[in-house]
Amino acid sequence: MSDEIILDVKNLSTVITTDRVPVRIVKDVSFQLRRGRTLAIVGESGCGKSVTMQSVVKLVSRNYHITADHVLYRSFRSGAPKEYRLDKLAPYGRVMRSLRGPEISMVFQDPMMSLNPVYKIGDQVIEGLLQHNPGMKKREAWARALEMLKKLGIPAAEQRINEYPHQMSGGMKQRIVIAIAMICDPQIIIADEPTTALDVTIQSQIMELMKQLQTEDRKSIILITHNMGLVAEMADDVAVMYMGRVVEAGPIQAIFENPLHPYTQGLLKSVPVLGMARDKPLIAIPGSTPNPADLTEGCEFAGRCPYCEAACLRGVIPSFEAEPGHQVRCLRSAHGEVN
């Protein structure tokens, strides 16, 4: 049962036009999210990981142009699975809006910015409930919100629910943001760098919380992050993105134990690991991330890759299946000369 695919994205592309210059930010991205599992999307700033998720749920502005073979969401809520083609829905239409919140919801990076400073915590939590359950009494919604805050381990929830965001610490605010995302009991939670703004001890609290929600309620999580440590702790599947493309994807063991793309290898080797010998130099990825508008042909990583060949600079590099379920977008994997 755990292999039921709840979200299936095939060849999603997003072009963003600024000052009349169209730039491809997301290029033919495909991934599948399994029910009750965590998919980590890893990449550095500007790699298009956030835009990818915004394109899936269509929270985009007018200058975004999205194309896809399909974006399929399967709702397992009542009996037979119901399928939605998200790519065919109008971004702010009735169906799409009814999906955002009760089916798919998002947790953003900065809890300080995701909460409205002028409303009470409780009012912000019940907003989604009232929106999606017409006819629900405010008192009933309030009770549900209180229950949710207690479930998320917020101390003195009865008192907290009447407070305003500025009265809370960063970690507490992020719990509230998660409560807002969870209140409609969604099937998928998209967490965009949920702990980057938080301290490590708070980060571990939040991560434990998300794991607990997943095992108890079989939620599917998409975790967007640049922290390989978090990926190792949380994810079942990983997709590594670089300059708008998924360069490597597969189950977590494959990515960590047998990384094949030079970029993934670089990411894993360039961060200091706690307990690492001090005299061991870090293996840095040379150069810096290019401007997406400057990219032309060939592999996006070619300019920084130690194994770059002439063939890497031509056309679009296809994706190869190195082992079952382990996709790599690198010509070296086609040659078979891995490692």
């Binding site: 001890t201 980060q203 434990e208 961060v271």
Partner: protein, 327 residues
């Protein structure tokens, strides 16, 4: 001499008054740095870790004279004798500033967007009284070479550079006056992971070549542990543990250090350790708890912890811990 102290902090305090009402009555203090005593040794890297609000940045600013200490003392070895920073005359302060430099967290904010790189790098040299333009430009050229940035980039503006390049420029600016101590305040935390390693390697290489002393302030334990010889763990304005980097990692003795270490997610499979998940948040530095500042979140709290504040004591082999459990 390597190993000797170059900076000595004795019970250094930075308190900000909290005022209330029309008459600005002081009702309390934010104790950002609350009595820190330690030596910074020549040519070592002293790591300072802690969560946001623990006072580590304020400590760095106090060393940089960007923040006045309100109690205790900071003394620097200036030509063989220790001078207290508060007693320095203006020309001596300028000399101290030549000796101690800083690399800031956000390379996007640390360079004036309206000034060319050339101007940004030239200014410290003018302030240090290098009159001849030829001399200044010779220093500029070698500084740019040191951080591996082509010379024609001098005539560009900060916004034309990537984060990594900007941080290199900031490093060039900090090191061109040939300081002996460099305070790195979260020097890599604003950078992308693939760039962090470049900067860390560069910092290490420069330390070897120029015999620099680093005060490496960061919240990322993995980075601090990798970079530092000794590490000071701060909590609510106090140092709770100070030890050799390896000793601290292999044998953390303060409960706070233990939970901090266990909270760091490791990018390695199958090494998921048993977590010491801390309850609650860091208390406000205005009304700090009595006794041990950590007692409210500590799993091993005893009666004495609630009333008596533990002192930072050497528990053997230069491993300093401020905890009653060690007594």
């Amino acid at each position: 001499m390597p190993g000797d102290a170059i900076l000595k902090l004795r019970d250094a305090k930075v308190w900000y008054p909290v005022t209330k009402g029309v008459f600005r009555r002081t009702i309390g203090h934010v104790k950002a740095v609350d009595g820190i005593s330690l030596d910074i040794r020549r040519c070592e890297t002293l790591g300072v870790v802690g969560e946001s609000g623990c006072g580590k940045t304020t400590l760095g600013k106090a060393i940089m004279l960007l923040e006045q200490i309100t109690g205790g003392s900071i003394a620097a070895d200036m030509d063989g004798q220790f001078r207290e920073l508060s007693s320095l005359t203006t020309p001596e302060k300028l000399r101290y500033r030549k000796m101690v430099q800083m690399i800031f967290q956000d390379p996007y904010a640390a360079l004036n967007p309206m000034k060319k790189i050339y101007t940004a790098l030239e200014e410290p040299l003018i302030v240090q009284g290098i009159r001849s333009r030829e001399e200044r430009e010779a220093i500029l050229a070698s500084a740019m070479e040191m951080v591996n940035i082509p010379l024609d980039y001098l005539f560009k503006y900060p916004h034309e550079f990537s984060g990594g390049q900007r941080q290199r420029i900031c490093i060039a600016r900090a090191l061109e006056t040939a300081p002996s101590v460099v305070v790195c305040d979260e020097a890599v935390s604003a950078l992308d992971v693939s760039i962090q390693a470049q900067i860390l390697n560069l910092l290490r290489q420069l330390q070897r070549e120029r015999h620099l002393t680093y005060v490496f302030i960061a919240h990322d334990l993995s980075v601090v542990q990798y970079m530092s010889d000794r590490i000071a763990v701060m909590y609510l304005g106090k140092v709770v543990e100070l030890a050799d980097s390896t000793a601290l990692y292999e044998n953390p003795r303060h409960p706070y250090t233990q939970s901090l270490l266990s909270a760091v997610p490791l990018p390695v499979l199958g090494r998921r350790k048993r977590r010491v998940v801390l309850q609650g948040d860091v208390p406000s530095p205005i009304d700090k708890p009595s006794g041990c500042p950590f007692h409210e979140r500590c799993g091993k709290c005893k009666e004495i912890c609630k009333t008596v504040e533990p002192a930072l004591v050497d528990r053997g082999g230069g491993h300093l811990v401020a905890c009653h459990l060690e007594d």
